[in-house]
Amino acid sequence: MMDASTFDMGDIDIAWCPGCGNYPILKTLKEAVAELQIDPTRLVMVSGIGQAAKIPHYLRAHVFNGLHGRALPPATAIKAANPSLTVIAESGDGDMYGEGGNHFIHCIRRNPNITNIVHDNRVYGLTKGQASPTSPLGFTTPVQVHGVCLEPFNPLAVAIALNAGFVARANAQDREQTKDLMKKAITHRGYALLDILQPCVTYNKLNTYQWFKEHTYYLDESHDPHDRMAAFQRATETDKLPLGVLYISPDKLPFEDNTGVYRDDSRPLHERQVDVERLGDLMNSLAANA
């Protein structure tokens, strides 16, 4: 049995503020991947830029810490180049929904078998407290001086509208439930979105641990995650935010299966050679002499 400590980095300097919601997420993630028996050498953590995007550096795994907003394209390609790897693209709401918004949309359409975990604290941390795409209306910041007037981005509703394979929301402080959702997201075959509500203790004085506790509830068995309309309705609730698996669209073929390159050959791309004989045939077909 693998232990969460397998993923510990030892004595490292962590750049998060004391009390940050990122800590429980990190701890929960280590437990989730340990319980799923995923070896660190088979796990690739992909992120962009931001405070949440530093998480790959804080657990033992392969790391692709790329550019701001660009976690999903390389994560998609890593999985396509070697489907035997477990790929988790994990970052914040600004990175995934703002700078990376276009990739978020098209990654859902593409449906690679990766897990997309988003730390959603409704504010920009690393750039020091500006609005994020999920900041509530009226939220004031040094830049949004008169309050946010843009409609908040609703990642779950967007994902359900795009018929994403797996759409769920967690609350960072509920570690057991979050771990369960992480495990479900990671084992889902295809793209899985797990939006995790978390406080920013430095820049978001509104959406605190207490606020999230009071403004969320867990979906019970009366919710059928295969009912898209019901899922969409839940996703648009704002008074109290539903937690759990909102939507599952089963039987979608993952991107890497659709590429066709693994149809007759399961080897990852780095183990393959050029079929020179076939290349010769292709070249000679260009002689147009038949």
């Binding site: 088979r42 390609a77 098209h106 990852p268 780095h270 290349l279 000679n284 002499n289």
Partner: protein, 571 residues
């Protein structure tokens, strides 16, 4: 009178059959044993507009565009006016009066009325008009009727028998009509002894695409953009056969970030794009440099700025490729001139990228991508992957500092180590750092690769006498036009020096230049970008620049005139 080099121009609106006639005719001429070259100029629209294709047929190798038109076949109204500047009293205009019109341009040349559409209608379908045209051109050139009929039959073999027969009849009708015109001065001389039939007939996109496959390309992610798209199309069409992941990304930013993820995980990836799309990729170029992940970028140039002239050509993005990406880091820029170079350099690009872990550019342009000619089969003996991936040990450090700057590259899932890459400055393991002494060591390590890769710079090609007095420097797609222009000039003191790798600049450049009395640099842009690069890195300025930036490639004749003007004072 027999001719050994004939220029045929087909001109009409998009969708009027220029491509059909061009396809059938070039293959027919090659099968008949002649060398062929074709290039097109077209408008950025799906239907209408005015497009032309120039075909050269000769009994020696031809691979450059000429302005001269021996035969013009108007396939749409306005065709003659569209190329009026290129026709002379010797030009034969062959076709329908309806299409040619009766303007001054037509009156100034030799017009022969062959009513393609009318004849096709008589055969039952005016769609056969293009085949009538093929037959008429074949007759003019003196191609054997039986060979023509056989070619048409084979080309339509997949169609119903009645369609095949109708097309053959249309070709024969066109052939007989043109024979009856009594034009005897455009017949081709005997085909060359060398077997042209077995040579390849392909364009720049296919050469680059084949080379990419030969280099082990197994992942391509791109966003369609003229003129780079044919490379994406080629790889897509053969993707399943060669195990290539082909993905049309949502934008160029995604495309290059996918390519980097693919290389990181052990694939050999490329992107294919043009200037505007590449502009979006520049942050990815910088990321490639920082995480020392290889990447191959095919950049097919077209005139800018911004959307510019989408379907035209230019060599205007050299400096874009040279300076793209924030921060300081090494890179390699290749610029094939011949199709053979396109194949070998595309293959080489993958091995160089892997070896030095730097971005490698294949810089082409619309003219290079869209032009084709017959060329000997490429040497596949070196095709394949020069592997530079290591199996990692438990204590693997992705950025281990080495003397040549190249750290052994592992990939996730191959070995016991962890592969950690970060766009932030990082330590040897790959983790984010703000240790400023380490920063300096990492910068030095990355720049050291720039020195190391100097050992693999492709030398420039000298064509002409070693003891030249006049040296014409050029790069990329201008190879054949410059070569033919110098050959026509016939001076025994003039040579061409062509660069198929423009960066880093080969170390012998200053030596080549100082040996000349006069240097002329030819390039397809307005500011002499390569000339600036040459002067910066060799210390020697070119004496004269021949520049062109109206959206068209150089023609042989204008280069001849340009060279004559610059070289005449020493005769």
């Amino acid at each position: 009178m027999q001719r050994d080099d004939i220029s045929i121009v087909l001109c009409g609106q998009a969708g009027q059959g220029v491509q059909t006639v061009e396809f059938l005719l070039t293959r027919l001429l090659k099968l008949a044993g002649y060398h062929v070259f074709a290039t097109k100029e077209y408008m950025s629209r799906v239907r209408g507009g005015m497009n032309s294709t120039t075909i050269r047929v000769a009994n020696r190798e031809v691979a450059a565009y000429v302005r001269r038109i021996d035969v013009l076949v108007p396939l749409g109204k306005g065709a003659v006016e569209h190329v009026a500047g290129r026709i002379s009293a010797q030009t034969i205009v062959l076709g329908e009066r309806d299409m040619a019109g009766d303007g001054p341009a037509v009156q100034a040349c030799r017009f022969f009325d062959v009513p393609f559409t009318h004849m096709a209608s008589d055969l039952g379908n005016k769609l056969y008009a293009n085949i009538v045209a093929v037959g008429a051109i074949a007759a003019l050139l003196g191609i054997d009727l039986e060979r023509l009929a056989d070619h048409v039959r084979r080309s339509f073999a997949r169609k119903p028998a009645s369609t095949v027969d109708d097309n053959v009849k249309a070709a024969e009708a066109g052939y007989q009509a043109a024979e009856g015109l009594g034009v005897r001065d455009l017949r081709l001389g005997p085909a060359p002894a060398a077997k042209v039939q077995d040579r390849l007939l392909l364009d720049g996109a296919e050469a680059v695409g084949l080379g990419a496959i030969a280099g082990g390309c197994n992942f391509v992610s791109s966003y369609p953009m003229s003129p780079s798209t044919p490379v994406l199309t080629f790889l897509a069409q053969h993707g399943r056969d060669f195990g290539i992941v082909v993905e049309q990304a949502e934008d160029e930013i995604a495309a290059i970030n996918m390519a980097l993820g693919a290389w990181y995980a052990g694939a050999r990836a490329m992107v294919t794009t043009s200037g505007g799309g590449f502009a979006l990729m520049t942050e990815g170029v910088s990321l490639a440099a920082m995480i020392e992940t290889p990447v191959v970028i095919h950049l097919a140039q077209r005139p800018g700025p911004a959307t510019g002239l989408p379907t035209r050509t230019e060599q205007g993005d050299l400096e874009l490729a040279l300076y793209a990406g924030h921060g300081e880091f090494p890179r390699i820029i290749l610029a094939p001139g011949t199709l053979e170079e396109g194949f070998h350099l595309a293959q080489r690009a993958f091995n160089l990228a892997d070896k030095y872990q730097v971005p490698v550019f294949i810089l082409t342009d619309e003219y290079y991508i869209d032009s084709y000619y017959d060329t000997p089969a490429f040497d596949l003996s070196k095709a394949g992957v020069e592997r530079h991936i290591v199996k990692t040990a438990k204590d693997y450090r992705r950025y281990a500092i080495t003397e040549d700057g190249v750290s052994p590259r592992g990939v996730p899932g191959c070995g016991e180590g962890l592969v950690i890459v970060d766009s932030d400055e990082h330590d040897e393991e790959g983790h984010i750092t703000e240790d400023l002494d380490l920063r300096v060591r990492m910068v030095n390590k990355r720049l050291a690769k720039g020195e190391s890769l100097g050992a693999d710079v492709v030398p420039p090609t000298l064509v002409g006498p070693e003891n030249y007095k006049n040296l014409v420097l050029c790069w990329g797609s201008t190879y054949h036009a410059v070569k033919e222009a110098l050959s026509r000039l016939g001076r025994d003191d003039a040579a061409m020096l062509h660069y198929s790798q423009v960066y880093p600049l080969h170390g012998d450049t200053a030596d080549y230049m100082t040996r000349a009395d006069r240097t002329i640099l030819v390039e397809g842009n307005a500011t002499g970008q390569f000339a600036k690069l040459v002067e910066l890195h060799s210390g020697v300025p070119a004496d004269h620049l021949l520049l062109k930036y109206n959206g068209l490639n150089f023609g042989v004749e204008e280069l001849v005139e340009g060279f004559q003007g610059l070289m005449e004072d020493d005769r």
